[in-house]
């Protein structure tokens, strides 16, 4: 195995590990192909197991012969290793650097990970598109499954199976694909059972500067409207950006050609702007020296919460069109793989109670992020500490999770999962032993044979013992549409993610535990009372039977 070549020094003794809120630990540092391990060899002392793929950046410095490596993780944690011996330290540092930036996906840990648990339900088959479609097909006959993309030939970033209007045949879909960015023709994202309105998503239309049009595209979109109804196109770019896109062959739906559709422009940022925002935010959170005013101004300057507000507002707007206006919506930005998915998935959280359950949320991520072709591999390659300018990284998924957390905070009893569930998903999107978030699209995952060669995250998460960690004790099924507030006062910083390593969570954890205890005890009593009632009822019926003749 070529890992051995990369590991120059597999073992160093007397290494001291420093982490915030923990006493320093001295032990032996080991490097394996995928992990950095520190073991103190003492009982009851926590060891450190760190995936190389979780390492975002490292710094090294020397004082005499004592070397120090500062490891900055993609989950924002910063740890420090004091390593005696300059050579050892340099070797370890270069090994970590090499191992944490492997080029080939197939060398990643998921391809080597062997589960230590029994798989009762294979997560790769937990959320099949056919099953998801069945939920709709019982309610409406206006939609169908299309296998036009079976070979990923029509649209490389789409899954093999998509839902489209029944009246549009595959031939038309092929034509529409040529008119949409990345071949992403409009497909069904969400069907609102209450009034039959839908959310569709796509890539931008390739109108270009001379206003190219596509009859099939117009027909497809109009096929989703009921007689006499109008729909909304929500373009996640500002009008300005959308107009500029025409010069590069892109564009937007001209009202003249889509008279039944009204276009709304929002402006959700993309790519490096988001990445820079994350970098600034995490830097502000890690800076312990500044005063209150600087903290607030750095928080403001990061613009993170501005992005949160913009994304949530757009999602609310989409949901409002569906639920309150009774109008269908088509959502796209440029590619339709980032801000589009943030909006379509958040709108579903607002509209659809099922997506607020654990299973439903997993299905949502599977459908609206993985199948829909969000390029996880590219977006999550680096996190807040990356110092090289790379074009494709962006915390698009993290912003989505943050928005979900914001809604969860405003409706703490309406979600089956808790904050830890969201944090777990964030961690696995950036570094994981599971194959779920590998690759940039279904076609890539297919080629990598992830289903055969790696384990699905859902196989692990959906075990009862794991689920209990992620279940919100306050959950009460709420069948209503939930409208979050998007006022700045209502959108605080997500401390559970961004201050996770900067403050002790002891007291908050205790509070959570106390909350669980209160509810568990209540359930216990309820069960006891019910048993006794039944016993009593039985006894009394017996008595009654004796009495009645």
């Amino acid at each position: 195995m070529e890992f051995a070549e990369l590991i120059k020094t597999p073992r160093v003794d007397n290494v001291v590990l420093h982490r915030p809120f923990y006493p320093a630990v001295e032990g032996t540092l080991c490097l394996t192909g995928h992990h950095l391990i520190l073991s103190s060899r003492q009982d009851n002392t926590e060891e450190l197991w760190l995936l190389h793929s979780n390492i975002d950046a490292i710094d090294k410095r020397f004082v005499g012969s004592l070397g120090t490596i500062i490891i900055k993780c993609k989950d924002f944690r910063i740890i420090q290793l004091d390593i005696p011996g300059m050579e050892e330290c340099l070797n370890i540092a270069s090994s970590i650097e090499a191992l944490s930036t492997l080029d080939s996906i197939t060398l990643m840990y998921p391809f080597f990970y062997r589960p230590m648990f029994e798989v009762t339900e294979d997560g790769w088959h937990s959320f099949l598109p056919e099953q998801e479609f069945e939920l709709y097909s019982s309610a409406t006959g206006e939609w169908r499954l299309s296998y036009v993309n079976k070979e990923f030939a029509v649209c490389p970033s789409y899954p093999p199976i998509v839902i489209v209007p029944k009246s549009i045949d595959d031939e038309a879909l092929r034509k529409v694909a040529t008119f949409r960015h990345g071949g992403r023709f409009p497909v069904l994202s969400y069907y609102h059972q209450k009034n039959g309105m839908v959310i569709m998503r796509s890539g931008q239309p390739l109108t270009g500067t001379n206003g190219r049009r596509c009859k099939e595209d117009e027909k497809l979109i109009n096929a989703t409207l009921r007689v006499g109804k109008r729909g909304y196109v929500i373009d996640t770019r500002s009008l300005n950006v959308a107009q500029q896109a025409r010069a590069k062959g892109g564009g937007f739906e001209q009202e003249a050609h889509y008279p039944q559709w009204r276009r709304i422009h929002k402006s959700i940022e993309r790519y490096h702007i988001l990445q820079e925002s994350l970098i600034k935010l995490v830097e502000a959170c890690n800076d312990q020296t500044h005063n209150m005013d600087r903290w607030l101004s750095k928080l403001e300057a990061s613009n993170w919460l501005t992005h949160i507000k913009e994304i949530l507002t757009t999602a609310c707007l989409a949901a409002q069109c569906i639920d309150r206006e009774g109008a269908s919506v088509l959502i796209h930005g440029t590619e339709g793989t980032d801000s589009t998915l943030q909006v379509t998935s958040l709108a579903q959280i607002i509209l659809e109670p099922r997506s607020r359950t654990i299973r439903g949320f997993e299905a949502l991520i599977e459908r609206e992020w993985l199948q829909a072709g969000h390029p996880f591999q590219q977006r999550c390659a680096q996190s807040a500490y990356c110092n090289t300018k790379q074009k494709w990284e962006a915390p698009v998924f993290l912003l989505f999770l943050d928005c979900v957390w914001q809604i969860l905070r405003q409706f703490p009893c309406s979600f089956e999962f808790n904050e830890n569930f969201l944090i777990m998903l964030f961690e696995h999107a950036y570094a994981s032993q599971f194959g779920t978030f590998l690759g940039n699209s279904e076609s890539e995952r297919c080629k990598l044979k992830l289903q055969q060669k790696t384990m699905s995250l859902w196989s692990w998460v959906n075990q009862p013992s794991e689920l209990s960690k992620y279940t919100n004790p306050l959950f009460e099924a709420n069948n209503l549409v939930i409208w979050p507030s998007v006022a700045p006062q209502s959108l605080p910083l997500w401390e559970g993610i961004f201050l996770r390593w900067n403050r002790s969570s002891k007291y908050l954890d205790e509070a959570y535990e106390e909350m669980v205890n209160i509810i568990e005890y209540n359930k216990e009593l309820q069960a006891k009372v019910n048993i006794l009632r039944r016993q009593l009822a039985e006894l009394e019926t017996e008595d009654g039977m004796q009495e009645s003749p």
Partner: protein, 660 residues
């Protein structure tokens, strides 16, 4: 009442602050104590009650085609915008309110007409609920080091101090009187808190009249006596809570701070908390931010930073943390002062006490703390909160800041406090409401002269009676967070301090979390208690039946299946179902109102339809019932009618909340 120019105006519109296009049409009434707006809508007849004493500013804006707008800002952060059709009516209301909101004598205040229908005995009991003599006993006083001094009987030495004061045993009357002459307003050093575990204490005073070089032997002896009262430490911290520059400037006026060279064994320390004027402006700036119509995130964060409010909160907390550490970790006594020793000193002493002693984190203990460090030690409630018409430069949110410090701590230590956020909000409300006599006047002396206890009711008794609403479900007396000192991190955790929207935007319900974890858990706990009782009863009955085994008469299980789903309504679903204006100023977005034409609108009540989900002071702002006869109530004769209602309705509203 002679100040009411027009008791009733019809066809007034109450503008919805969140969506200004929505306005409720109704009738405006002015009574001796309240402004009342009653909506015309026959289904709701929703009422909004504003106490005159809550009114902070009234602004008459330029008349438009629709009428004359009147903006009322309240001290409890409510903002009411009315549009009155006739300019003349608007002017009358304006002029009346200007006068009503600024009473000139105490007798005009609501507490003198408020009648919660308690008899004399109940009222008297209410006033003895919080007993400071008991509190000093609880601290372990008097003891070998500290004694009760009668030097201030009949307020002979210091008229802003209480009569009951604890001083070091070795401080003779001569020393005390001598020291008092060397201190601003004669506020000599006295005990605020005694830490039983190690004899360290927190003492308080005003600044010394040291000027550039003046000394006072008795004052030096006084500090010496404080040091000697703590055998565990050979020095005393003297904490001046002002910025150094301010303290130095005071020297020119013959005031100033202690010179370490003159006092043996003191360690002098400045902790810069700004003065009341800076704080007043800071709050003003922050409220302007809260008032912005659909601000961007940058507007909000920038405005929050620019207001400096959280910086000031942190400064107060830092001072409290410093003192708590000195007392509990170093075992050193601390003398705290600012200028007069009734604002910053009160804030800092009470924050430190709260950190040190779990008793102050209980419902009753917190009332004691306010009674002790604020009310008895002469915090100038009347001046600071503008109860009577006075110098606007004296007004400052001093106790508001303390209350916010407590909230910030509650956020950090969710299990450590017996009370919840609502308790803090209600106390803040009543500091301004003047519905109860506790916070009247500027000193104990004035309150005694006014015979407050014979003529008004105590807030503490009222809060205690309704304590079920104020409990923190996560509090357990035996929980580790409940024990001992609260330890905060030493690093400058600026991010720990957060904007308190539950206070400053509390009337914008849509901004608050739409489901309350506290209320949910309280409902669960209540049900748990019922289940425990039922379990016991069932076990008993089962035992009986099994034992007797004879056909006694059947008793149907009288309790129905506990159904948690109908029981716990913590979410205000009406609000959950009212989308905001997400389109911003988007022209292209349809003008059709979102709530129109939905076949399922039965489910979707409008926000205004619902009972206020916040039992919060709805008594004074959001009443629902008993409206029909309102119009025939003569405002002048109605002096106590609305007050009755508020007393009654508060309870019913609160009860409704858990069962609705």
């Amino acid at each position: 009442m002679e100040h009411i120019r027009t008791p009733k105006v019809e066809n007034v519109r109450l503008v919805d602050r969140v969506s200004p296009k929505k306005a409720a049409l109704g009738t405006l009434y002015l009574t001796a104590t309240h402004v009342i707006f009653v909506e015309n809508s026959p289904d709701t007849r929703k009422e909004t009650w504003i106490l005159h004493s809550q009114i902070s500013t009234i602004e008459k804006q330029a008349t438009t085609a629709t009428g004359c707008p009147l903006l009322i800002r309240c001290k409890n952060f409510q903002i009411i915008q009315l549009i009155i059709p006739q300019e003349r009516d608007c002017h009358d209301v304006y002029v009346s309110l200007i006068r009503l909101a600024r009473p000139v004598k105490y007798e005009e205040l609501y507490c003198f007409s408020f009648n919660p229908m308690l008899d004399k005995e109940e009222r008297e009991q209410g006033w003895v609920l919080i007993n400071l003599s008991e509190e000093y006993k609880r601290m372990g006083l008097p003891n070998n080091y500290w004694q009760l001094s009668d030097v201030n009987r009949e307020y002979r030495v210091c008229d802003s101090y209480p009569t009951e004061l604890y001083v070091p045993k070795s401080a003779t009357a001569h020393i005390i009187v001598g020291s008092s002459k060397f201190r601003s307003r004669r506020r000599f050093p006295v005990l605020s808190y005694y830490y039983k575990d190690n004899h360290a204490s927190i003492c308080r005073s005003s600044q010394p009249l040291s000027g550039f070089s003046a000394r006072c032997l008795e004052d030096e002896q006084m500090l010496q006596a404080i040091r000697k009262a703590n055998p565990g430490s050979d020095f005393v911290y003297v904490v001046d809570t002002r910025p150094k520059l301010n303290a130095m400037a005071n020297r020119a006026a013959g005031k100033g701070y202690e010179n370490e060279d003159n006092y043996s064994n003191i360690k002098f320390q400045f902790i810069g908390i700004e003065n009341i004027h800076v704080m007043r402006n800071s709050l003003q700036k922050m409220l302007e931010v809260c008032e912005l119509k659909s601000p961007s995130m940058s507007d909000f964060l920038w405005g929050l930073e620019n207001s400096g409010w959280l910086r000031h909160i942190k400064a107060i907390m830092d001072a409290g943390i410093f003192i708590a550490k000195a007392v509990s970790e170093e075992g050193a006594s601390v003398l705290v002062h600012c200028s007069d020793g009734w604002d910053r000193t009160a804030q800092v002493c009470s924050v430190a006490s709260l950190l040190l002693d779990p008793h102050y984190r209980t419902l009753k203990g917190f009332m004691v703390l306010i009674e002790k460090d604020w009310i008895s030690f002469g915090h100038k409630f009347n001046h600071r909160y503008g109860n009577l018409d006075g110098d606007p430069k004296e007004i400052s949110p001093v106790i508001d800041q303390f209350i916010e410090c407590v909230w910030q701590l509650m956020e950090q230590f969710p299990c450590a406090f017996e009370f919840n956020e609502r308790f803090l909000i209600h106390i803040q409300h009543h500091i301004y409401s003047c519905q109860f006599g506790n916070f009247l006047c500027n000193s104990q002396k004035e309150r005694r002269e006014l015979k407050i206890q014979e003529r008004t009711y105590s807030l503490w008794a009222h809060l205690w009676k309704n304590r079920a609403d104020y409990l923190n479900p996560l509090f357990r007396a035996d929980h580790s967070q409940t024990q001992g000192t609260l330890h905060l991190p030493t690093t400058p955790c600026n991010f720990m301090y957060k904007f308190w929207s539950g206070m400053y935007n509390r009337f914008e319900k849509g901004m608050q979390p739409r489901q309350s974890v506290t209320d949910y858990l309280m409902a669960v706990k209540e049900e748990t208690q019922q289940l425990e009782e039922e379990l016991e009863a069932l076990e008993e009955r089962l035992e009986k039946i099994q034992k007797v085994q004879l056909n006694c008469t059947k008793v149907k299980s009288k309790q129905s299946e506990p159904s948690r789903h109908s029981g716990f309504s913590t979410s205000d679903n009406s609000i959950a179902n009212t989308p905001q204006d997400y389109s911003g100023n988007m022209k292209s977005f349809p003008s059709r109102s979102p709530s129109q034409g939905d076949e399922d609108s039965a489910l979707i009540l409008t926000q205004d339809n619902l009972k206020s989900s916040d039992p919060d002071l709805s008594a004074n702002s959001d009443q629902e019932s008993g409206v029909e006869d309102l119009s025939c109530r003569s405002p002048s004769g109605g002096e106590h009618a609305p007050s009755e209602d508020s007393g009654k309705d508060r309870d019913s509203d609160e009860a409704v909340f858990l069962t609705a």
